[in-house]
């Protein structure tokens, strides 16, 4: 049974924690902004978007914790092994995975424009069950999130092709980068392709930089309008 969640090259370990902090800040600010707009408008799309980014932000905080306290040093790599840890640590790993999957499930659900908790639960519960009972945890997590990211990407491509507005392009590229990073993450733990962890992290960084840039542009635009 493959019970490792990810591999981090040792020299990249500190950078990875710094990146985790950066991702937490970026996603946290986007979530706060979405909730602020939800307060003005009362539109559920903004609330769901905020929830999705809050889940992402918390999942990154948990990932920093996992990287700091739970990774094992084996042959110049930091490895997160689910089988090596106690029950409490296993619960933290499980919480991380649930938050990570929930963030993309919520974002995919938002883009579907359907109302109903049952649809949401039908997307979320099978994903969690699949992770819980899978033999290859790492592959399952990244496969599930990749599928949801693919659905989200389809939404952004469709929106962009409708108007060709440049302001829609950043989010499309960000989601495409997150999808590519996710696919590479699958290979990292499964085939020991640990260099992929660095490539994926750079992809994630570029994606969140694009999202942060989009938010900066929005706030500047908002200031001008006021």
């Amino acid at each position: 049974m493959v019970e490792s969640l990810y591999f981090v090259p040792q020299w990249f370990y500190t950078i990875d924690i710094v990146l985790g902090i950066l991702f937490t800040i970026f996603t946290g600010i986007v979530a706060l902004y979405a909730f602020r707009i939800y307060r003005f408008t009362g539109e559920r799309e903004f609330k769901l978007f905020g929830i999705s980014f809050t889940c992402l932000a918390i999942s990154y905080i948990v990932r920093i914790w996992l990287n700091t306290f739970l990774t094992t040093f084996i042959a110049s790599q930091k490895i997160l092994r689910i089988s090596d840890v106690n029950l409490f640590s296993k619960s933290v790993i499980f919480a991380y995975v649930i938050l990570f999957i929930s963030s993309y499930v919520t974002l995919a659900y938002t883009t579907l424009k359907v109302k109903g908790n049952r649809t949401y639960l039908l997307m979320l519960i099978p994903s969690i069950i699949a992770f819980t009972f899978s033999w290859n945890k790492s592959l399952t997590v990244y496969l599930i999130t990749s599928l949801f990211l693919l659905a989200i990407l389809y939404h952004y491509v469709r929106l962009y092709l409708r108007t060709y507005e440049r302001r829609r392009l950043a989010m499309l590229l960000a989601i495409a980068l997150l999808l590519a990073s996710n696919i590479i993450f699958m290979l990292v733990a499964d085939y020991g392709f640990y260099q992929g962890y660095i490539i994926s992290s750079i992809g994630e960084l570029l994606a969140y930089a694009l999202i942060a840039f989009t938010l900066y542009r929005i706030t500047q635009h908002g200031k001008k309008a006021q």
Partner: protein
């Protein structure tokens, strides 16, 4: 509200379907343009919506606290609230966020 703005709403809706945020802005601007007090028939005429859609939007806007209904002997009128004014002031920001993040 000036005629040019009503014309803009009609032409804009002909060009492409308005999204919900735009419809809410249009209704609130119609109410604000009438010194903050307007009858539903005027809203219907100026906002370019069907009667049923307009009623649904008015109910929702009341629930969200953007407008207030005033019942009188000669029918009902609507006024815009402070929250409604805030929505209009921040509309550009809201619209930019919704479009950029694909939430409209």
């Amino acid at each position: 509200m000036p005629l040019s703005h009503s014309l803009f709403i009609v032409l804009h809706s002909m060009e492409k379907k308005r999204n919900k945020l735009q419809v809410i802005r249009d209704i609130l601007e119609v109410i604000r343009g009438r010194n903050g007090k307007i009858k539903p028939t005027h809203i219907l005429y100026k906002s370019n919506l069907s009667y049923q859609m307009m009623e649904e939007y008015l109910d929702e806007l009341q629930e969200k606290g953007f407008i207030k209904e005033i019942k009188q002997d000669r029918g009902r009128t609507y006024t815009i609230t402070d929250k409604g004014h805030t929505y209009l002031e921040r509309y550009k920001l809201i619209e930019e966020f919704a479009t950029s993040f694909g939430l409209e």
